[in-house]
């Protein structure tokens, strides 16, 4: 009897964490995506490219390195959903949005640094991704570093 109660408590705790991860996690994600869309629209006038050289007819001044970092954690639901995915294979949509959010946020921070420096062009953008705090081979957080060269082009 006590075994069954213990099992139920464990299951209840698991369901609670899963529910918490799902509801709070999706609310956080939705809010963050809306924030990203808004910031991207505000920074739209900065020209961004990963080309290595500027068009020859542009006269650029004030070259400087700019970078942006973002670390985003997975939620409990995503962790469980991705480990279930590992059984069957296929697209892990819940982790795709996580990586996307980190990348967009890091690029936005890089552009904000460029804007603060008075630049209107960011060229040769590089985006590096890694996972930190790996436990048992599962990513618990995605870290993105975006860097580029900011210029002032008249």
């Amino acid at each position: 009897m006590s075994d069954i109660i213990e099992l139920l408590i464990n299951l209840g705790f698991f369901a609670f964490l899963l529910g918490l991860g799902y509801f709070v996690g999706s609310a956080v994600e939705k809010k963050h995506l809306a924030h990203l869309t808004k910031r991207e629209a505000e920074l739209k006038d900065i020209a961004v490219s990963n080309l290595r050289t500027l068009p020859p007819n542009w006269t650029a001044t004030d070259a400087r390195l700019v970078a942006g970092v973002c670390v985003i954690a997975t939620d409990y639901f995503k962790t469980i959903a991705s480990s279930l995915r590992n059984l069957f294979g296929g697209r892990v949509r819940s982790l795709e949005t996580l990586v996307e959010r980190s990348r967009r946020q890091a690029v936005i921070r890089m552009l904000e640094e460029a804007r603060a420096a008075g630049a209107n062009v960011v060229w040769n953008v590089r985006i590096d991704t890694m996972t930190i705090g790996n436990t048992k081979g599962k990513p618990s957080a995605v870290e993105v570093l975006a860097s580029g060269t900011a210029f002032r082009v008249e």
Partner: protein, 104 residues
């Protein structure tokens, strides 16, 4: 000291190449931050503590790279690249490298 990640600096032709310069730093996560992060892993969201950690690491690695470039007598570093790796669980390495040059 000018830093760019393009191969040339528009308006400042490269006069002399001084060679490869690099800087790296390995930072461990803070226990307090680790505990906060494990709670964040339930609900998701940005790990501000880790973001700050990486900003500090990047600054430190860049400073070390600039120090090397100064020693070589360069006044700019072109083609700067950043690389990151997790050395062990809980520690992150940030590595910055570039080419030290003298520009006009």
């Amino acid at each position: 000291m000018k830093l760019v990640n393009t191969e040339t600096i528009p308006g400042h032709p490269i006069l002399e190449v001084k060679g490869l310069v690099q800087g790296s730093t390995v930072r461990a996560k803070h226990v307090g931050r680790d505990i906060a992060a494990s709670f964040k892993n339930l609900v998701g969201g940005e790990l501000k503590g880790y973001t700050e950690l990486l900003i500090e690491s990047r600054r430190e690695a860049t400073e070390r790279m600039i120090g090397q470039a100064r020693e070589l007598g360069a006044n700019a570093v072109v083609n700067v690249r950043f690389a990151t790796s997790s050395v062990t669980t809980g520690a992150a390495e940030l590595y910055a490298y570039g080419t030290a040059v003298v520009v006009s």
